[in-house]
């Protein structure tokens, strides 16, 4: 496989910030020109002018990688890491500043579904329009029309202006058109963040078809780690405009999750957050944070967070308690720590809190935490309680061959330890 479909070499993209800003008017240009002229005539620099010099910002730098035919490559990274810029260059929306990309085959990009949809036009009209914008020929759209409509499940509303569609219908129609493109290279950006769960599954399935059956190449950008694990065969991790990792998706997700320079760990400033339940405020939560920049945990990992607490009164003893909720708000379980040494009045301390392997099923969760005294056996008092905080996600287990474990929602949110079974000696 020496002939990559996409080959990116030393790619860089520079943006200008501030002075070179977006909608400068002719007047600005004329004024700028005049000032430059005056400066040249006067032979000295205008001290104020330098402050307006545009700042440079490299959204991408020295990015090189190759993608082979039929690969599904995940591109992951934090917001601002350069993912969108990379995709925009690959789909020829913007030009790189340095370096080059070689592409074999047609590229279609789904940077956002529904691009070019016009609210006044009907579903039927928008299918044709959107298809044409995405690069389909009219004959091709006509051929796939019924399939698109069926996929989107909007048969009854074909002649209704899309402005009267529900947002779900709108997204389904938009994705349906896009999903029926047949490019050699498909660039997908976060389109799975839309629609209901069932439709998302349908979309994932469609994408897998595209890659596996038809041998096409897919570039998939997402924050949805389970989807990255499930769909991709390789992944690159971008950070601050550079590729910091390229390899298997499991390691990539690990790199992404652990690239946790603690200075950029997720912090929840909760000092002034509204309290649904008031404690006695003998102490107050100032902030809560995870030990990583992306609040994603692998299955089986310890759940760990750091709480910064300020004591108002003297607190010789204190303990923490926590309830974990599913994204839907159902409590999964609760726990208390043992009372331990507290802190003096006016003092502030950061405390590490660990729940050893909670065996949470893959999914999204959030917590309620409290600091107080006592426990569930002997009665307790809470100083301060924070709800709806410390949102995090648990990733599915990844097996040896890159397989992802299944966990059906209906099985609950806790994965119990392995069952034991023993055949009893028969009484015969």
């Amino acid at each position: 496989m020496s002939n990559p479909v996409i080959s990116v070499r030393d790619l860089g993209k520079r943006y200008q910030l501030g002075g070179g800003g977006a909608h400068d008017t002719l007047r600005d240009q004329i004024a700028h020109g005049a000032r430059a002229l005056l400066r040249r005539l006067g032979g000295r620099a205008d001290a104020n002018d330098d402050s307006r010099a545009p700042e440079e910002f490299w959204a991408l730098q020295d990015v090189s990688f190759e993608v082979q035919q039929g690969e599904v490559i995940g591109v992951i990274g934090r917001n601002g890491a350069g993912k969108s810029t990379l995709l925009k260059i690959l789909s020829q929306i913007t030009e790189p500043t340095t370096g080059e990309v070689r592409v074999r085959g047609r590229v279609a990009s789904l940077l956002e579904v529904g691009t070019g949809f016009h609210p006044e036009l009907s579903g039927r009209e928008n299918i044709y329009l959107n298809g044409a914008i995405l690069g389909m020929a009219k004959a091709e759209i006509s051929r796939k029309f019924d399939e698109i409509v069926a996929f989107a499940e909007v048969e009854k509303f074909l002649d209704t202006p899309v402005k009267r569609y529900s947002s779900g219908m709108y997204v389904r129609l938009a994705f349906a058109v896009a999903a029926h493109l047949e490019p050699e290279i498909l660039i997908v950006d976060e389109v799975l963040a839309v629609g209901d769960v069932q439709f998302q599954k349908k979309c994932l399935g469609k994408m897998q078809d595209v890659a596996a059956r038809e041998g096409r190449t897919v570039l998939f950008v997402s924050h949805n780690m389970p989807a990255v694990l499930q769909l991709t065969s390789v992944a690159i991790v971008l950070e601050k405009g550079r590729v910091i990792f390229r390899g298997g998706p499991e390691e990539a997700v690990e790199v992404y999750t652990n690239a946790a320079a603690s200075d950029s760990a997720v912090t929840f400033a909760v000092e002034n957050a509204p309290r649904l339940y008031a404690g006695n405020f003998a102490a107050k939560f100032i902030s809560l944070r995870f030990d990583r920049m992306v609040p994603i945990f692998s299955f089986g990992e310890d759940f760990r967070f750091f709480a910064t607490v300020r004591a108002v009164e003297n607190l010789p003893r204190m303990r923490f308690s926590m309830t974990i909720f599913t994204a839907g708000g159902t409590p999964v379980g609760s726990c208390f720590s043992k009372e331990a040494d507290g802190i003096g009045p006016g003092e502030q301390a950061e405390i590490e809190v660990v729940l050893p392997n909670p065996r949470l099923a893959p999914g999204k969760y959030h917590c309620g935490v409290a600091v107080g005294r006592g426990d569930n056996r002997n009665g307790h008092v809470d100083f301060d309680i924070i709800l709806d905080t410390l949102g995090f996600e648990v990733l599915p287990e990844v097996g040896e061959g890159g397989t992802v474990s299944t966990w059906v929602r209906g099985w609950g949110s806790t994965v119990f330890p392995e069952l034991r079974q023993t055949i009893l000696p028969s009484k015969g």
Binding site: D24, R27, Q69, Q92, R106, Q230, L231
Partner: protein, 296 residues
């Protein structure tokens, strides 16, 4: 639901571009010409966008397409009263209303094409920052979208010609040629303005002013020969550098016949000006389009 690498099959035959070549994306420097082959590949999108503009224009309007008749009709009436009756400009023996309407049709096409196309790129900002396609299609389809209005207003012209008993001459068959000239003229200005508008939103203020002034500066309420009579041949020739002068003279010739034959050197100067402007506009457009998505 796991991608099993072993199921990934050979690349499909269609994997390569039609040309079988590798496309290279890199920073382009200097002046950039037009990729005609690519524009041709996207011809359907060009038509689709014009079609969309037309559909959208008259959705949720009470009078709908009647607007395409009403506007030129009322302007014709006003011009006939003011210039024909009050100012008593010469119409070279032809009915004044027909002479004015013959000029109003291409002018209306031109001015609405200008308004639509100058704003077209900015209005398509969402598309431009999400999908690749040749950007030139956007202002061009905006110009084309005026075609329907133009065709409808031709009906008005026919009615007025019948009303005044103006004979239908063979010259009428040349109308498409002069319409094409009007299209080129509108496109040449539209390409400039749409690209400038991406960076300088001043264009928004320039265009209405421009079309309003143009209505009086172009020979709509009078004949271009009036300039020759009043100011002499040099000024008249310079006047002809306004491409709409050539277009309007051509329209009048088609509709009113021999007495209205254009001043041909002036006409070719008009068209030359339009073509030079179009070429310059396209180069400016192509050279700045790589920054559209960043700036828009």
């Amino acid at each position: 639901m796991v991608v099993d690498l072993s199921t990934i099959v050979r690349p499909p035959e269609s994997c390569l571009d039609a040309s079988g070549q590798t496309r290279v994306i890199r920073s382009r420097k200097g002046w950039i010409g037009v990729d005609v082959a690519e524009l041709w590949r996207y011809r359907e999108l060009f038509l689709f966008l014009a079609w969309r503009d037309i559909l959208v224009r008259y959705k949720q309007t009470a009078l709908g397409v009647a607007w395409a008749l009403l506007q030129p009709f009322l302007t014709m009436v006003i011009f006939t009263v003011i210039f024909g009756r009050l100012a008593r400009f010469s119409s070279n023996g032809a009915p004044y209303a027909v002479m004015t309407l013959a000029a109003l049709l291409p002018w209306q096409f031109f001015s609405s094409a200008l308004t639509e196309s100058s704003n077209s790129l900015v209005a398509a900002a969402n598309m431009i920052s999400k999908v690749y396609f040749p950007r030139l299609i956007v202002p061009a389809s905006a110009v084309l979208s005026g075609l329907l209005d133009f065709l409808i207003s031709l009906l008005l012209l026919l009615a007025v010609m019948i009303w005044y008993g103006v004979p239908f001459r063979a010259n009428l068959f040349l109308l498409p040629v002069f319409f094409f000239a009007a299209f080129l003229t509108a496109l040449s200005v539209g390409v400039w303005l749409s690209a400038l508008n991406v960076k300088y939103r001043d264009v928004k203020y320039v265009v209405p002013f421009f079309t309003r002034i143009g209505l009086y500066v172009s020979p709509i309420g009078f004949m271009s020969t009036l300039i020759l009579q009043k100011f002499g041949p040099v000024v008249h020739f310079l006047y002809c550098l306004n491409p709409m002068v050539g277009v309007i003279d051509g329209f009048r010739w088609c509709i009113l016949g021999p007495g209205f034959e254009p001043y041909w050197p002036g006409f070719f100067a008009s068209m030359g000006a339009a073509i030079i402007m179009l070429a310059g506009g396209v180069v400016y457009f192509r050279t700045t389009e790589k920054r559209f998505a960043d700036v828009i």
